[in-house]
Symmetry: C2
Subunit: 495 residues, 2 copies
């Protein structure tokens, strides 16, 4: 494994990374206004402008459906392109965690990379984060870059010379798999918010229906980052005998109240958008403003303060018609600082790319994720193993320190009750080698949660837990960026 | 000084505070739904219900203005009660940082505690955070508890046996001082967003107009927390000879991009509320939904993840008609977890208490605050001292380590350029004893920013910087809660 894996310690960031180059100082200059003028708010007008364009586009589409172009502001998810991915239609009901009534049938979109071995034993199931599609990397059918492009390919973290990699769009999503925007066969109309509450376990059960269809009995590994890490753990829990190894990067086995808070804030601004209409917006305009605002909040949770110090500092965004950034300028109530225009831009880019109801349902599924034993028992969830090894008591010599790769982060000597409950919940994973990797600057899935997963697994009797922490400033997004360290850890663990 | 001041280190929090009592486990149980029903969204309906009540109240008020009652949902700031505080009307123009045109005149609301000494030398000017009024503690005119009730009184942190304490509502606010909701004498209508952009320095200049009016030449101390700490530093910068001591608690001398991001997210959701109407809502309904959503986001920044782990964990809020919290229940898209209902409640409580435009203007003033020398020079801001001592070069023996109270947090040996710029900016404070206190769990004004202020002051030649860090889980709100440690540090420093 790479020595770089050990990363940097957080305290070292502050002094080294705040030293933005002095040449940027000229971008940070304000001056007093020489005269007053009537207030204008381009950042607010942008919402109305988007609404107008959507209305125009909607009119044009209804008058000439066949002449739709890619350039319109119509929601991207409204134009699925099933030629760019595979779709498996499961014609049987899917049992759901929180609903006595199953989904009558469902579609699951997926893409693959590499070659399935004759013995079908080289399969890696890659799980996605909240809003990702199955398009993790370019394929022949869809050559555009995927969301994990640099991690998939010959010699890469997920080595296509060796592995057959499958990535799906999760149930509840809007990129080809059945979700709130799909047609309910019972009514002929989109489910909208009549779609049942789903769980991470439901997403995984749907994936295993696909694996059954593909006649894949056992995964070489289940791999995921962020919400994908939740799915990765859930897959091993549901089917311990069908999962060879588990990779959990920047995930959790028990969503924390602070992450619930940050997702709740996003759902709140989205559901308050008048266009949301309790979720029944599919024959009118989508809640694009709420989506933009929600994405702005989400973006704050994806990176870190030290990164923004380094990347933006107090730099200003040049205004149209005021390109000379060395000229001091008058501040306004709309964005001035680069950090503000960055958030604005991230929201604008996302607001028509993803279905609002999918965001609400999937973020709720993340909130509900809790692998402590009492929570699992209440839900009548069953792991398909009945031969789990005896769970050592917390604090036993066997439970701790056996093959720790992180002696600098020893588990607590007196673990709190929830950690023991989590260890009991994770007992079906006791025999599965697991890589747990976290990032110290992550504010959404904190490093404490990474330690929690690793500790609970060890307490459950798992003596093949590889545990790493990365430094750096990229926060939660590190798994999308740090090919060297994240990719290196995965490659080492899988080989 | 109290030994308790040294506080706890952050790493110790995780293991000790996540051990929520096991008796709470019964509050966290979900179960599958036994049947499906049509979706309902009480959390969204609440906005419409509030809107209806506001409309009713508005109609009632217009038909019988004299019969207004306190119980209506009318915005609290629309009912100022000038008998409960003093108002000084300054009949002369106030120079503004970002506008060539001054405020023609202004009101400033204030309250006092203790007795002014005959020589008028025992005055403490207490500065407020973003949304606070002048009502820091109960008075004869207004016996309700104030926002810093436990810190003001005989023998308390601000000892009324010894000091005469003045607290004002800041310019830009809505609790008696001139702000966007005030009448513009030029038009006879509320300023709304024709109100000029204001700065922290402008707030302080208005306060010194009041001090002049009260014939107070020199403050014993300038004291503030959060935005109040910015004002406290700004007061000493503008009038070094009129400020005896400075207290800066959980503040900054240079707003960080992450704090700008969090305030920008709040302004965005507020300004997207259709009721906001570019700020011209004073003769219609206020943007109460946007204010609620903004406050939810703000609340996330005021506390900390470890506190929520400890306080809420994954507990559920009992639903109306489902008071038996031991009964498992079906999850919903509206709030389930206590952390969600907590945020919802905080937003609901606040949304009619404070003027939306005041929130926008004052949060922008916080973003703009930057005491580095280049920023101050661009604004033509002048400190009233011309006899500042020579500033030692960074890294000199004099600049560092002289009377450090925090040898465990030594300043960086190779300070980044912005820190040298900040030291140059803070040079007028070189002779003023200053207490800098921060909280390690604060995510809004991070502990790194506290070190930055202390380091820059020392580099500016100030050898009377007292510096403390507190542990604990209360985050930014610690200054409102931790009477023992925050109060103790202030009392020790002022005595």
């Amino acid at each position: 494994m790479s020595a770089g894996l050990l990363g940097l310690l957080r305290p070292s960031l502050t002094s080294s990374l705040r030293s933005a180059p002095t040449r940027l100082a000229r971008f940070t200059r304000f001056r007093p206004a020489s005269n007053s003028c009537s207030p204008s708010f381009p950042c607010v007008d942008a919402h109305a402008a988007r609404e107008s364009k959507l209305k125009e586009s909607s009119r044009a589409a209804s008058s000439a459906t066949s002449s739709r172009t890619e350039s319109g502001p119509e929601p991207a998810y409204a134009r699925p392109n099933p030629t760019s991915y595979h779709v498996y239609h499961h014609p049987h009901p899917l049992t759901l965690t929180y609903s006595a009534k199953p989904l009558p049938s469902f579609d699951i979109a997926y893409e693959t990379w590499g070659t399935l071995s004759p013995s079908r034993d080289n399969v890696i199931l890659l799980h996605t984060g909240l809003s990702a599609s199955s398009h993790a990397a370019s394929t022949e059918a869809n050559p555009t870059e995927g969301w994990w492009q640099k991690f998939i390919g010959p010699g890469r973290a997920l080595d296509t010379n060796q592995f057959f990699i499958i990535c799906t769009n999760v149930i509840g999503g809007c990129y080809g798999s059945t979700g709130p925007s799909s047609i309910d066969p019972a009514t002929g109309r989109p489910y909208a918010t009549t779609f049942p509450i789903i769980s991470i376990f439901d997403m995984v059960r749907a994936q295993f229906c696909l694996l059954d269809h593909l006649r894949i009995d056992k995964l070489y590994a289940s791999v995921g980052c962020s919400m994908g890490a939740m799915q990765s753990l859930a897959a091993a829990w549901l089917h311990p005998s069908r999962v060879g190894k588990v990779v959990s990067i920047s995930g959790t086995a028990r969503s924390s109240p602070s992450s619930v808070a940050m997702r709740y804030a996003q759902r709140s601004v989205l559901m308050a958008d008048p266009n949301w209409k309790n979720g029944f917006y599919y024959d009118s305009l989508p809640p694009h403003t709420g989506m933009k605002l929600a994405r702005q909040i989400a973006t704050i949770t994806y990176r870190s303060g030290p990164e923004w110090d380094q990347r933006f500092g107090r730099q200003l965004q040049p205004r149209p018609g005021n390109e000379d950034s060395s000229t001091p300028r008058v501040p306004a109530l709309c964005p001035d600082f680069l950090i503000e225009t960055y958030l604005d831009h991230q929201g604008e880019q996302f607001c028509l790319k993803y279905d609002a109801n999918s965001l609400i349902y999937i973020s709720k599924a993340m909130d509900l994720f809790d692998m402590t034993l009492p929570a699992l028992q209440d839900l009548n969830l069953t792991s398909s193993t009945s031969s789990a090894p005896p769970t050592p008591e917390p604090n036993s010599a066997r439970g701790f320190h056996k093959t720790s790769h992180s002696k600098s982060h020893p588990p607590p000597l007196n673990p709190p009750p929830y950690l023991s409950d989590l260890a009991k919940g994770l007992r079906p994973l006791a025999q599965i080698p697991t890589l747990v990797l976290g990032v110290q600057s992550d504010i959404l899935f904190t490093v404490e949660q990474q330690r929690e997963v690793a500790d609970a697994l060890r307490m459950a009797g798992n003596d093949r837990v590889s545990y790493y922490e990365l430094g750096g400033v990229w926060g939660h997004d590190t798994f999308l960026i740090d090919v060297l360290n994240v990719g290196g850890a995965i490659r080492g663990f899988l080989s």
